[in-house]
């Protein structure tokens, strides 16, 4: 009886992964993070942006090389003299994937409705905008305030004829399943199995032409080792989120390329700046102590011993996926790893270890300086750095008390200000504004996890927000980042890459965004998929080996189904007896 039960369950499990029929040239991508929803007004995971990037084209596109604004659905645009109004001209003959014409009305409706209903991924861009469709191919967008992001208009345009019937009720919009598969990008959603896969089909109506690939399957493999094994076996063509220790093995395979793609993510050591209600240890209010702590951070040790080499030592925070927003800081002005220097600074400032227990006290005697360090247990990296941190502090004579929190708890501790230091990270958008906003005084109690404010920084933030000259804006941002760096409250340790790998024997033409350093998938606009070509002209239609394999799988799946049902019946019969 037990044996039958076990057999049944195993066969039952084997059914779950049986594959169904495919057509044409298929690209298979493995990733670990399942989707909550594919609805563009409600989803939020990195994994779902990839789907939207393919399904929905935008008015303006971004260059794969450097994110600069290029033509998208709009072939041209003009600015008004005051810079507040832009008039976009759509390409001729645009069609949705269901052959309905794509007009200025779709664009205007998306912008206005997303603003009114506060759609999660649109509202930050559209909050101050108003769009009017002048005619089928002309849309006029006006901003209430000067907006340096314009003419960039990168919100996903959704088909009005599908979404308008749902939209009167804001609740209905966010709970809509959004599996209509009507899009304007190179691919559209064909099938979605929650927790398992999303299958996308080439859109013949895409404005750049029909892609060379017919089908893309995004397949969930929650286990990182399983993803690697499937790539090696050729069952996947590309995988996202590779474990550091698998990178070397993958790169040894002549048919596989493993890359570390940078798009601005970084992890930092944050020191409590004292702007929240809970206060840091009084020593941390002294810039000299904060500087000494900065000098005790061994970035190379983290990159070598924790990240297996996959990281770049960081200076300031990176506010954008585009690295040109990070200022160059001359080497002699950087806060570099220097234990002796840090000790000298602390000695001079009077933080001495008078009782000889290895830990310094406040000037004039008093209690030991012990820092409460918050460890985020949501990943393996932060606890590993948490093991290094007490060592760094020990050699400059500071004590550490480690407190473990999950992300949610740590967030609350930070808001309350009940900590001295912690290590966590950010991944920025392309426009630097959101990341810069986090460190303004308005964000205390919300996103400002430095609990640090600076009036000059705040003023510059307002200035860049409305500065329409891109070069001048970049200068202002560099100045802001320099102020923050010198304040010594927020020490980025490294810029962290996305680790990805792809096979070279079936497809070619992977595109890194930004050029040379970025990832090939899950980047800001995901340009790879339209560019990919089958190697050696493998085209759909004829009977490729793949079709045979798939057919074989289907047959085996049916056999398994029959077997499993037979077993199930027997099992229930056994139970009845």
């Amino acid at each position: 009886m037990l044996l039958v039960l076990v057999l049944t369950m195993m066969l039952g499990a084997s059914l779950a992964s049986a594959t169904t029929e495919e057509e044409g040239v298929v690209l298979r991508v493995g990733l670990g993070q399942p989707w909550t929803t594919l609805n563009v007004t409600a989803g939020f995971e990195v994994s779902v942006y990839e789907i939207w990037n393919l399904q929905y084209a935008t008015l303006t596109d971004k260059s794969a090389d450097d994110f600069s604004t290029i033509e998208g659905l709009a072939e041209s645009w003009d600015a008004s003299d005051d810079g507040l109004t832009y008039t976009y001209t759509l390409r001729e003959g645009l069609l949705w994937s269901d052959d309905t014409p794509l007009t200025a009305e779709d664009v205007a409706w998306t912008i206005n409705t997303s603003r009114d209903q506060g759609w999660g991924n649109h509202v930050a861009t559209t909050v101050n905008l108003d769009a009017v469709a002048i005619d089928d191919r002309t849309v006029e967008i006006t901003s209430l305030v000067p907006d340096p992001k314009l003419p960039t208009m990168d919100v996903y345009i959704v088909p009005k004829h599908i979404w308008e019937p749902i939209a009167p009720d804001g609740e209905a919009v966010t709970s809509y399943e959004a599996l209509d598969g009507v899009g304007s990008g190179p691919f559209f959603i064909e099938q979605y199995e929650p927790e398992q896969f999303v299958r996308m089909r080439a859109n013949p109506n895409y404005w750049q032409g029909e892609p060379a690939i017919d089908t893309i399957v995004f397949q969930i493999f929650t286990n990182a080792d399983a993803r690697v094994a499937a790539l090696q076996a050729g069952e996947l063509d590309a995988i996202h989120d590779v474990a550091e220790e698998s990178m070397a093995t993958l790169d040894d395979d002549p048919n596989i390329v493993a890359i570390a793609g940078y798009q601005g993510g970084f992890d930092e050591l944050a020191i409590n700046g004292g702007a929240a209600e809970g206060q840091p240890h009084p020593a941390l209010l002294d810039p000299i102590v904060r500087r000494a702590i900065g000098m005790a951070i061994d970035k190379e040790a983290v990159i070598e011993d924790v990240l297996a080499g996959f990281g770049e030592p960081a200076t300031t925070i990176s506010p954008s996926a585009d690295p040109s927003w990070v200022p160059d800081i001359p080497e002699d002005e950087q806060i570099a790893y220097d234990v002796a220097g840090a000790n000298a600074l602390l000695d001079e400032a009077g933080y001495l270890d008078t009782d000889g227990d290895g830990i310094r006290e406040m000037p004039g005697g008093g209690d030991n300086i012990v820092l409460r360090h918050g460890v985020n247990t949501d990943s393996n990296t932060y606890p590993a750095i948490g093991e290094l941190f007490p060592g760094w502090m020990e050699v400059i004579g500071l004590g550490v008390e480690l407190n473990s929190y999950d992300g949610g708890q740590l967030f609350e501790v930070i808001i309350a200000g009940d900590y001295d230091t912690f290590v966590w990270g950010w991944t920025p958008f392309v426009d630097p504004d959101p990341m810069l906003s986090y460190f303004t005084s308005a964000e205390i109690g919300n996103y400002n996890d430095a609990n640090w404010t600076d009036p000059e920084y705040d003023a510059l933030y307002e200035e860049q927000k409305q500065e329409l000259d891109p070069d001048r804006r970049k200068e202002i941002v560099h100045e802001m980042l320099r102020i923050m760096y010198d304040a010594g409250v927020y020490y980025p340790i490294y810029y962290s890459p996305d680790l990805q790998a792809y096979r070279t024997d079936r497809f070619e033409g992977w595109v890194r965004q930004p050029a040379d350093i970025g990832p090939v998938m899950f980047s800001n606009t995901s340009p790879s998929y339209f560019q990919l070509q089958p190697v050696g002209g493998v085209v759909g239609g004829g009977i490729s080996p793949l079709v045979l394999i798939v057919a074989g799988v289907v047959v085996l799946g049916v056999v398994a189904l029959v077997l499993a049902n037979a077993q199930r019946k027997r099992a229930t019969a056994d139970e009845r007896e």
């Binding site: 061994d298 011993d305 460890v375 393996n380 093991e387 007490p390 050699v395 008390e401 473990s404």
Partner: protein
Amino acid sequence: MTVVVGDRKRQRWVEVAREFWQARSGRIGVIILAFFVILAIAAPLVAGTDYINPVKARAAGLPQWGTPAEVGPLGTDHFRRSVWDQFVYGSRISLLVGLAASFLTILIGSAVGIVSGFVGGKLDSALMRITEWFLVIPFLPLAIVLAAVLGRSLLNMIFVIGITSWPSTARLVRSQVLTLKQRTFVDRSRSLGGSGLHVVRQHILPNVSGLILANTTLAVPISILTETTLSFLGLGNPQTASWGKTLEEAFVNGAIARNAWWYYLPAGVGIVLVVLAFTLIGQTLEQIVDPRLKDRR
């Protein structure tokens, strides 16, 4: 009868000790345990703390994953830390948690058992309900849930183990107390006007102390193994490297895949030996205290 209690008590303990040393398993247990206790106490003499600090280990040029042949006693780990130093200092934490948690277990268990058995009535049935409940609920999941909710610290670990493992002691002590209660000398003492507390101190405690001692010794292996498992699952204090924590770090950081035996073996062997030692000692004691068990071993 009460006049000679003191003398008899002393005599009894001497007897127990002699009998204990005569049993081979008891002897082996004591020798193993003595070794680890000495190691823990003498830690600063045989090991150092410098190379437990990854910063100092790196500064000293120790390699990652250094083999014992390359870098001395037990090699180094992924953070270039000395495994030997971690092992020696880890023995302190493992023994400390094991003993403290067992002490708490026995404290709660004996208190509940004595009160429940001696007072009886509604209090007894209420206490026994709670005991039953703890006995039925799967022990490790309960400990995991408590530890996850309370947070990771040494004290919490001791508390969690103590609070989850007392019920079997309570039941054992209670039944012993019930038996004693029926004996005449308790009755006589009560009829002579002895207060409840007096009776417990004079008659109940001395007679259950042997049982409690044996039970404590047998609780230690369970405490140590629980600490090890909870630490392995990531519920240990990140700043105190117990043997369980060492095993977790070895596993998480790939010591298995690269077969860095010097990293994952010592802590495990240490646990097995200490657990074995306490089990041997406990079983020997149990046999002496409860002679009915003797034939079965």
